[in-house]
Amino acid sequence: MLEVRGLNTWYDESHVLHGLDFEVREGEVVTLLGRNGAGKTTALKSIMGLVPRREGSIKFRGAELINARPDKVGRAGIGFCPEERGIFAGLNVTENLFLPPVVAPGGMSVEDIFILFPNLKERAKSPGTKLSGGEQQMLAIARILRTGAKLLLLDEPTEGLAPVIVQQIGLMIAEIKRRGFTVLLVEQNFRFASKLADRHYVVEHGQVVDMIPNDQLAAKMDDLHRRLGI
């Protein structure tokens, strides 16, 4: 579904990604694991076209996106949930939820979204940033479920959240996967990732250094602990 080959990204003078290669197949949950600064977030932003300069190849359903503007990437059917969540303070929960335009048929219905995220319905009129961190994260995920985007890029959805909320978000991502969405997940929380993902790519210094199918994760544990420093 998504095929990234030889991806190089620069911020001004600093060269962040050095030929990143990975792929995501339809229906999979794939994680990018790595230390802070390894280039995971930059990888997602590069796919979305939110970086100043990138080279290589990003193919989504066969179409080349390496030179596409962010709105073209969004329109192609990729939903983005940024690390800082990107909830708009000037918009209430409903306005935040309905902000992203529908890009393809087959998005989740609002009724289903409210079943999956009941808190959002109760707080429909609250300003987006008055929600708790966990609720904001749910809103950030919920609003890309109804647009018809089938590949979701989630950047550290568990960051800074209490364990019980992390668990809830895990259940939601599992449900999203069950409904046929494909997810590319950036995570530091390795235990969280291991419960959801089909495959893991280990990113170091802007390159993929290993690919681990989830069932081989246990065997690679020592190696991973060394690489990720956890």
Partner: protein, 294 residues
Amino acid sequence: MVMILGKPAPLLFGQLLLGIINGSFYAMLSMGLAIIFGLLRIINFAHGAMFMIGAFVTWGLFNYLGLGFWWALILSPLIVGAAGFVLERTVIQRIYKLDILYGLLLTFGLAQIMGGVMENYFGSSGVSYDTPDLLSGVLNLGFMYMPVYRGFVVFAAAIICFATWFAIEKTKLGALLRAATENPALVQAFGVNVPRLIALTFAGGVGLAALAGVLAAPLYSVNPGMGDDLINTVFAVVVIGGMGSIGGAILTGFGLGIIEGFTDVFYPPGSAVVVFVVMAAVLLARPAGLFGKA
């Protein structure tokens, strides 16, 4: 004669009306400035010139094409808005990555060009535009006489202000605009053509200025400097109200018009500076403006 606070009532009400009318223009112009600043981060110094062009287009529609006031009310904002769209796409969009001062310089230059061109063709004294027949005459309100057209301006301005506020604060398009003001990159990643949204916003903002220009044409002399006189006060209004709040721009615009009107009754020499005195006081107490977010 009825006296209020030691002043003749008709004088007081007359000044109140004048204040509300001036306030109408302050509100309509500062709204457009606030909308443009919100999304483009540009202080549009050409806003007064756009207002002036709106008035000249009104005059031109009648004198060259025989299209009267009611046509101008629709056509002039569209024409000026379209010109604004082209201006944004060709010139203004080039400076977004630069310091905010460049936007100020660029739009100041554009204002000078527009003023100069119009002065070249029409002279500095300008031209006059008749009040539309339907709105001529005077209304006896009992406590004062009010020219019908002036009442119409206040009525029209109130509708325009409410409609703009509603469009920005309560509609889907407005939500998009507010979101793009906060985080344009993310809104674009959702699939919205943000560069086009920005151009349309600029077009909408200057279209509002032109609409105010249409309303002003029968009221003031249509001349190349008509925007300059107004825009200084409008900038003060925006500073007092705080950038980025549409409701704030409206309330501050009308409020300051009224304050100015009353100052003219009680202390005439102060009427020209009262807005700036208020501005200084507000800046000392609330640097982000009355309705601004710090």
